[in-house]
């Protein structure tokens, strides 16, 4: 029973990542809850001493990808979630224009780029850890990161040129 608190230290970071990934509070906590339930089911598959954080983020990634796929195939499950989509957004006026723009641009990024950008920029994983978490080569991590950052930069420049370029 020592394992009772095994995952607890990782939960705040899983929640932060899920929020950023889904941009929806309820959906994010559902995702983390599913992730933890799955992790407990599969605990015997985790190799003790290996990177628990990467393992948990991998489970969360797989669940999210499967979830998106299932919603595509089952429109009735999408309907169930409509109210969650209407939940108030985090970014409010107080956050300032820059943050709201970033949030919007982030939501428009392709999932594969958004994941890499968040694991590097927010979760501060090493490129090797990101590669392991997502099951892709480091070279792919770097090309997705590069494209994500450039795409955000372009969109943010386009979002407010009048405000930012006053010279």
């Amino acid at each position: 029973m020592r394992d009772t608190n095994l995952f607890d230290e990782h939960i705040p970071r899983l929640r932060r990542y899920a929020r950023a990934l889904t941009s929806d509070r309820n959906q994010a906590d559902d995702l983390v809850q599913e992730c933890l339930a799955r992790a407990w089911e599969k605990l015997s598959l985790w190799r003790r001493g290996s990177d628990l954080r990467a393992w948990l983020f991998t489970i969360l990634h797989n669940l999210y990808v499967n979830d998106l796929r299932r919603r595509k195939n089952h429109p009735e499950l999408l309907t169930l979630d409509d109210e969650a989509l209407d939940a108030p957004r985090r970014a409010t006026q107080e956050d300032g224009l820059g943050l709201r723009d970033l949030q919007a641009a982030l939501d428009r990024l392709p999932l594969e780029q958004r994941e890499v950008l968040l694991l590097v920029g927010l979760e501060e994983m090493s490129y090797e850890e990101v590669a392991k978490t997502l099951g892709i080569p480091v070279g792919t991590v770097m090309s997705r990161l590069s494209r994500a950052r450039e795409r955000l930069r372009t969109q943010l420049n386009a979002a407010g040129p009048a405000l930012r370029r006053v010279k």
Binding site: M1, D3, T4, N5, L6, F7, D8, I11, P12, R13, R15, R16, R19, A20, N26, D29, D30, V32, Q33, E34, L36, A37, W40, E41, D67, R70, E76, L77, L80, D81, E83, A84, R90, A91, D95, G98, L99, L102, Q103, L106, L117, L118, V120, G121, L122, E124, S126, Y127, M142, L145, S146, R149, E150, L152, R153, L156
Partner: protein, 250 residues
């Protein structure tokens, strides 16, 4: 790689993310000093990192909801929990023996045993009888529907004198299962165990299994197998089982 080789795109990112080998920092900084446009691009990327933290770091300081904390299958290692698990093992073994003679039917194989096990483990639980309480019923039902892969409903049993306490997700033999817990005015608890069936979309009659004090009515209806467990006399339990069935098939 030495200080003379040209700076790569990967190195620019590694510089931003503080993953660059120290020996290359000088080369990257010299490159940026000579290329204002590149320096501007790198500053913009670094600002994105800062803004991501500004947007999302508040989540780290939020209290973690009880539903997310610890192992859902064995949350508090209390003496009561050990007793419950022991009881579960005993009842499980006894049920397995008692149900030996039942005709084999793939869709209900183990269904009453699993339901009775889940019942004896969670029904006595005082602190954490459910993962998601009835006050968040919509969330509960949406979540369980997603995990079971088909729309699940928590039947209203007020007419039978039972109110929904909440529910939880459980590992079943062939995938996730859901447990809804109900309670009457005196605190007596019933649980409704729901899991997907192997072949789906068929119906069976009510069947009954009992061992020790736990009675189980179970049946298959559409994509799900249902099992209602409780420490009730068979006629009373049947009455509630019929209420469940009616509520699910209005």
């Amino acid at each position: 790689m030495n200080n003379q080789s040209p700076v790569t795109e990967t190195e620019l990112h590694a510089y931003i993310d503080e993953q660059l080998e120290p020996a290359r920092c000088a080369a990257v900084e010299a490159y940026l000093a000579d290329n204002p446009a590149e320096a501007e691009r790198v500053r913009a990327y670094a600002r994105q990192n800062e803004q991501l933290h500004a947007l999302f770091d508040a989540t780290l300081d939020e209290p973690v909801p009880e539903t997310l904390r610890s192992n859902p299958a064995r949350r508090t290692p209390s003496p009561m929990r050990y007793a419950a698990l022991l009881a579960a093992a005993v009842v499980g073994g006894a049920l397995g023996w008692a149900l030996r003679g039942e005709e084999p039917l793939a869709t209900t194989a183990n269904l009453p045993q699993q339901a009775a096990l889940a019942h004896v483990v969670y029904a006595p639980e005082v602190l954490h009888p459910v993962e998601v309480s009835a006050s968040e019923e919509t969330h509960l039902v949406n979540w369980l529907s997603k995990r079971l892969g088909a729309p699940v409903r928590a039947p209203q049993l007020s007419d039978a004198g039972y109110e929904l306490v909440g529910g939880r997700l459980l590992p079943g033999a062939d995938g996730p299962a859901a447990q809804f817990m109900y309670q009457d005015a005196r605190g007596n608890r019933l649980t409704l165990y729901v899991r997907t069936t192997a072949d789906g979309n068929r119906e069976t009659a009510f069947r009954y299994a009992q061992e020790s004090k736990v009675g189980v009515f179970y049946w298959v209806d559409g994509p799900f197998g249902y099992a209602l467990s409780g420490e009730l006399e068979r006629p009373q339990l049947l009455r509630v089982a019929e209420s469940v069935y009616r509520a699910l098939n209005p």
